[in-house]
Each structure stands twice: as C-alpha cells, then as structure tokens.
C-alpha cells in the first residue's frame, strides 16, 4: 500500500518534471539567443585540417573533451579488468555451439572489419570516425569471442594494458608535442594537422575497441577481495 502510494508520488513527480522541462524547452525555442557558433565553425573549417565538421569539433576544436573522454573510457576499462579473473578466456561455458552463430561469424567478421576500416577512413570528410569504427571493431571482437575464438591478448597482462592506453598515449603525446614548439596544449602544428588527426583516429579506434572488448570479457568475476578496514582477518 505504502509502496503503491510512493510509486504514484514518484510518477506524478516525474510527469511534472517532464512537463516543466517541456515548458522550458518551449520557452527557449520561442525566445532564442543569437548563437554565432555555427558561423564561426564554418569560417574556421579550413584551418581544422579535416572536411567533416563533427570530426573537426571532436578532434580539433574541442579535442580536450575528447582526450578526457577517452580517459573516462580507459578508467572504465581499468576498473573492469581490475575485477576480472585471469584465466577466464577458455571458459567452455561461454562457448556457443550455435551453428547460426558460426555461419554469422564466417561471413560477418571480415565484413565488419572492412566496415570498421571504412568508417575510420570516412571520418575525415563524411560521417564516421574513430568511435563508430571502434565500436564496430569491438562488436566484431564480441562475435569472435562468443564464437570461442581465443583472443589471448585480452588476458589481463601487460599487452592488454598497453592496448588499453595506446590510443590515449598517442593522443596525449600529440597534445604535448605542440608545447615544445611554444604553442598551447593540444594545438597541432599547422602543416601536420591532417596526418596527426588521422594517426590519432586510427590508434583511438584500436584502443576504443580494446577497452570495450576488455569490459565485455572481464565480466567473469574474481572472487578475491580485500577485507574491510578493521576487520580482524
């Protein structure tokens, strides 16, 4: 009974929240401030080194966001592997013997690899880029994993950790290189903008895929735990 009342109360509150939010959106939509950002963006596109505006924003204008965001991803990966069991990859329980999956694998994996490559390459001037490509690559990995293909590099070890941070470190190095030339953090040298962005995107793709995959395979749980502080044990 109390539970039902509470549910009703929360529901009402959420409906009210939506209504107020919608009203605000309506009010803002009717009374817009004059943002100059899109114009500014198109004026500066030529200096960004890439043709696709979203990529330009992500990897040049607001690259600090992206850098930190990859950091967030790496954190999730670290937290994931910190809890995983070391010898989980050959767990037979995980191996699917579905013939459909096998068939899917035979056809899909190469296709998906190609798709990932395309997405990465397209990012410079068309929709696509490191995240999408990384996600597709990770999905490929998930498929392979479900199909029982051993992927030893995902065993928590130096290699996995190196893979996790490869993209991040390259990005970071590119960010700091400009400082040596007396420029701001994350400022690319003007004539190297495009190749740098491409390199960053490629390694990011790999690392993003690695992190996502590591999070997926790290699920089997390590039993060992710390005692709580002050627990006599």
């Amino acid at each position: 009974m109390i539970r039902a009342v509470r549910t009703c109360f929360i529901a009402l509150a959420c409906i009210a929240f939506s209504a107020v939010l919608a009203a605000s959106i309506w009010a803002i939509a009717g009374d817009p401030g004059q943002g100059t950002l899109p114009q500014l963006l198109s004026e500066n596109m030529s200096r960004s080194g890439v043709e696709h505006p979203v990529t330009a924003v992500l990897l040049n204008f607001r690259s600090y966001d992206t850098l930190l965001e990859i950091g967030v991803l790496v954190i999730a990966g670290i937290a994931g592997i910190s809890m995983s069991k070391t010898t989980s990859l050959e767990d037979p329980e995980l191996r699917t013997s579905d013939p459909l999956l096998y068939a899917l694998q035979r056809w899909f994996i190469p296709l998906m690899l190609v798709l990932a490559g395309y997405l990465l390459w397209a990012g410079a001037d068309r929709p696509g880029g490191a995240f999408q490509a990384g996600a597709v690559l990770a999905a490929t990995g998930v498929l392979m994993r479900l199909g029982g293909i051993p992927m030893d590099f995902l065993r928590p070890g130096l290699l996995l950790r190196l893979g996790l941070v490869l993209g991040f470190s390259v990005f970071l190095l590119a960010a700091v290189v400009s400082v040596i030339g007396g420029d701001a953090f994350l400022a690319y040298p003007p004539d190297m903008t495009k190749p740098l962005i491409l390199v960053i995107e490629s390694v990011l793709t790999l690392s993003i895929a690695m992190v996502l995959l590591a999070l997926f395979v790290s699920a089997p749980v390590n039993d060992a735990e710390d005692p709580e502080e002050g627990d006599p044990s």
Binding site: A76, A184, F185
Partner: protein, 489 residues
C-alpha cells in the same frame, strides 16, 4: 614559462596514469613519487605566477571560446589546484605505504588515482560547461573505481549506489547544459555571462540553472540527497576516503558555486537561494546528529562530511541580492571552509585509517587506551577535529567568522545560528571519539604501531588546517577577487 606550467599541469596526471597502468604496484609507487614531485612543483609554480601576474584565460589547442575550450586560470582556480596538489600527494604517499602491495588488483590504484587528479584539475580550471561535464565524469568514474577496487559485497553495494547517484547527477547537469546551449548558443561560462550582461534575462533557462545545481548538489551529497555518501566514504580504504571527502565532493560544489555566482543574479531567485541554504542548514544538523549515532569510526567521519558540506551551501543565500562586501565575505568564508575542510578531513580520514590499523577494529569503543600508547595519530585526529569544530585558530574558524559576518551583515541572522549550532554539534560527535580514547584500558600496550611515515602525513595536513587561520589573509589576498568574471572572450 606559463605555457610550460600549464602543459605540465594538464599533461602530468594523464601521462602518469598511463605510466602507472603499465607497472606493478611497487614500481607504480616509485613512479608516482616522481609524478607527485612534478605535479607539486608545477602547481606551486602556477600559483606563484598567478599570484604575481594575475589570472588569465588559456585557450586549449589555440582555439578560443566559444569555438574551442578555454581554461580559466584565476587566483581561486590555482589555489584549488595547489590544494589538490597538497592533499592528493599526501593521500598518494600515505596510500603507497598503507595499501597492501601483494594484492594483484592494487596495481590499478595508481592509474585511477592519477585520472582522479587530472579530473580535479580539469574541473578547477574549466571554463566550458560541457568540458566540466566530462571532467566530472572523469572524477566520478575513477572515484567509483577506487571505492570498488578489490571490494567485498558491501563495498560494491556502496560503489554501485555511488555510481548511480553520480550518473544521475551528471545527467541532470548535462540536461541543464543542453538547455543553456539551446538558449545562448555557447558553452563558455564567460560567454553566457557576457550575453546576460547585454540582454534582459530570458524566462526559459531558469530551469537550466536549477537542474545543474540540483545535479551538482546530488554529487556533492547535499541533504536530502546525501544518502550515497556515508557508505561509500565509510567503506573505501582510508586514503581513498580522504581523497573523496576532501576533494571529490568539492569539485561538484565548486562548479555549482561558480555557476551560481555567474548566473545566479539573473537566473536565480530569492526563494531558491533561501531554499538551498535551508537544505544546507538541515544538512548541518541532520548530518551531525547521525554522526553522533554511529558506532564505526569512519562512519562518524563520513557523516561529518555530510554536515560540513551543509555549510558550503550557505553560499547561495549569502550571495543573492546582498551588498558587494557581504557577498565577498561569504565567498571568502566559503573558500576558506572548502580549503580547511579538505585539509582537515583528509587528515582525519588518514589518521582514522592509522587508528583502525593500530587497534584492529573500526569500532569507536575499541579506542580505549589509545591516548596513552598512540598519541601521535590521535593528536593528528584531534588537531583536524579542531578545524572541523571551527574552533580557533584553525582555518575552519576563520571561515566561520567570515560567514558569521556575512550573515549578520546581510541581516540573515538565522544562518549565524546554524553556524554556531553546527560547531557545537560537531564537538558532540568528535568528543565522543576523544572520550573513548581517554577511557583507561587496564591492559598494556597491545596496539600495532604503524610506521612513522604513515603517522606523519596526517599530522602535516592537520597542522596545515590549523595554521590556515593565521595565514587566511594571505591566502585570500592571492585569490584577489575570488570568482571574479573578468575579460569576457
């Protein structure tokens, strides 16, 4: 020079996160020592630079706002950068000895620690609303990872709860950012302020400010949104608890404060300001009351954080439609409160960790006899307590004095009563602990004596918190005009 300092400040924590990920715990510790040294020097250098030449905007990637992301390097920001350097290095050094190096998962402590540090720096310096969101997430996720590291079911429950609260808070904040961008077409705080200066305040984005501050209040654990905090801070390892209580909750509060001071006058309302202050007052009373009821040492300290956070939110009523000088007093008071609470609470958690290590139990009544055999850690705990009780000459007292002046000067005398009651209540729960330690235990010294390095670190922090009262004037003068919005882009 400034270029190098800025790059060092941004680069070091991220780079050290990568380096320490590739090593084991012991090597990670050595690498971390170097990193701490670099980071402390860089922070100090930047602080000195700003103290001499004043603050500036730093355009990342050479793109100024609104197109790019700008960092706002002013006196307040560098003070907090320096504070972070002090507290985080103390926690890092303490953790290097405190944490069991033989558990394989503890190697992941260092990268998470460094990511946390970089997130904190990003938040102190951030001048871009969305960038602040990413910084917040960086902090939240690494903090959750640290709480959960190697944890048992209770630790996991606490960290999941913490994660969900943090995510909900971030989403509310992001929703506010979306509305702000929809209204003003820019993400730069300075840009929005410049817009508001030239136009009359629109009706729509009031909700945006409310959403952002609510979300941040949830992440700061303002009453009644505080329930995730005590389990998470109580169960984490002591150096982690220290980091969380001292710095992590301050990051979200810092953003809320900056937003309020930038937009509050035009987008806020008196009722909202008083409401937030009321919740802060309730937090002081309720958090202290619960702290008195706890049987576990670290739970007392964690609930004390809930209470102390309450003080911070008195900033909202004390800066809304009051005179310039009162507002300044309130801002200075809150700044001192943030700094002194950070130092004192870190000292207290680290000392509590030492005490728990010594007596082998986390219960308060197990402390009987400690004052005879382990005076050093208890002394650190006590000195930190002086600051938390805001008794002179601590930084907490200086903060309380300024806040008292602000509340009396603005005619809002009821906040003065909250401040005084809060001081007495904190004495109530802290003296419970001292009292337990003074109880004579007829047995002889059976306590484990932690190594000197573990004992000295909290003492240094506690002395800093205590001495802050004497140098408050200097600290505040470096911050020249805290929260000043100078030079729109």
């Amino acid at each position: 020079m400034t270029l190098w300092l800025m790059a060092g400040l941004l680069f070091t924590p991220l780079a050290w996160a990568v380096l320490t990920l590739l090593t084991d715990f012991v090597w990670g510790r050595r690498v971390t020592w170097v990193g701490i040294l670099v980071q402390v020097l860089v922070s100090l250098g930047l602080w000195l630079t700003v103290a001499q030449h004043g603050g500036f905007y730093y355009d990342l990637g050479g793109w100024g706002a609104p197109l790019g992301i700008e960092l706002r390097v002013d006196g307040l920001a560098v003070t907090f950068v320096l504070l972070t350097a002090a507290v985080a290095s103390a926690c890092g050094l303490h953790a290097g000895v405190y944490i069991d190096q033989h558990k394989p998962w503890h190697r992941y402590f260092w990268p998470l620690f460094w990511f946390l540090w970089s997130g904190l720096n990003a938040v102190w310096l951030g001048g871009d609303l969305f960038n602040l969101y990413v910084g917040l997430e960086l902090i939240s996720l690494s903090a959750v990872g640290l709480v959960a590291l190697g944890g048992n079911a209770n630790a996991l429950r606490a960290s999941i709860r913490y994660l969900l609260a943090a995510l909900l808070g971030s989403l509310a904040y992001l929703l506010g950012v979306a509305l702000i961008y929809g209204q003003f077409g820019t993400l730069s705080i300075a840009g929005v302020v410049a817009w508001l200066d030239n136009h009359s305040a629109p009706a729509g984005p009031g909700l945006a400010l409310a959403l952002m501050i609510t979300g941040l209040a949830l992440k700061t654990a303002l009453f009644p949104l505080h329930r995730w905090l005590p389990p998470a801070h109580g169960i984490a390892k002591s150096p982690v608890s220290a980091l969380l209580s001292a710095l992590v909750v301050k990051a979200s509060f810092y953003i809320a404060a900056r937003l309020w001071l930038a937009f509050g006058e035009s987008l806020g309302s008196l009722a909202a300001a008083q409401m937030v202050g009321l919740l802060g007052g309730a937090a002081v009373v309720w958090g202290s009351w619960l702290a008195c009821k706890q049987a576990q040492l670290k739970q007392v300290v964690a609930y004390s954080s809930v209470a102390q956070i309450g003080y911070l939110f008195l900033l909202f009523p004390l800066t809304y439609s009051v005179s310039e000088s009162v507002s300044l007093q309130a801002q200075q008071g809150i700044t001192l409160q943030v700094i002194s609470h950070a130092l004192a609470k870190a000292a207290m958690f680290l000392a509590a960790g030492n005490l728990i290590l010594s007596v082998g139990s986390s219960r308060i009544d197990a402390l009987a006899g400690v004052s005879r055999f382990l005076p050093f850690s208890l002394f650190s705990f006590g000195l930190a307590g002086v600051s938390l009780m805001s008794l002179p000459p601590s930084g907490g007292f200086a903060a309380k004095w300024l806040l008292l002046q602000a509340s009396l000067g603005s005619g809002q005398w009821w906040w003065a009563l909250v401040l005084l009651a809060g001081g007495l209540l904190s004495a109530a729960y802290l003296f419970r602990i001292y009292r337990a330690s003074f109880a004579e235990n007829p047995e002889t010294d059976q306590f484990f004596h932690p190594s000197k390095s573990l004992e000295i670190i909290p003492m240094v922090l506690a002395v800093m918190a205590l001495g802050l009262g004497f140098v408050s004037e200097q600290v505040l003068s470096v911050m020249a005009l805290p929260f000043a919005e100078e030079g729109a882009p």
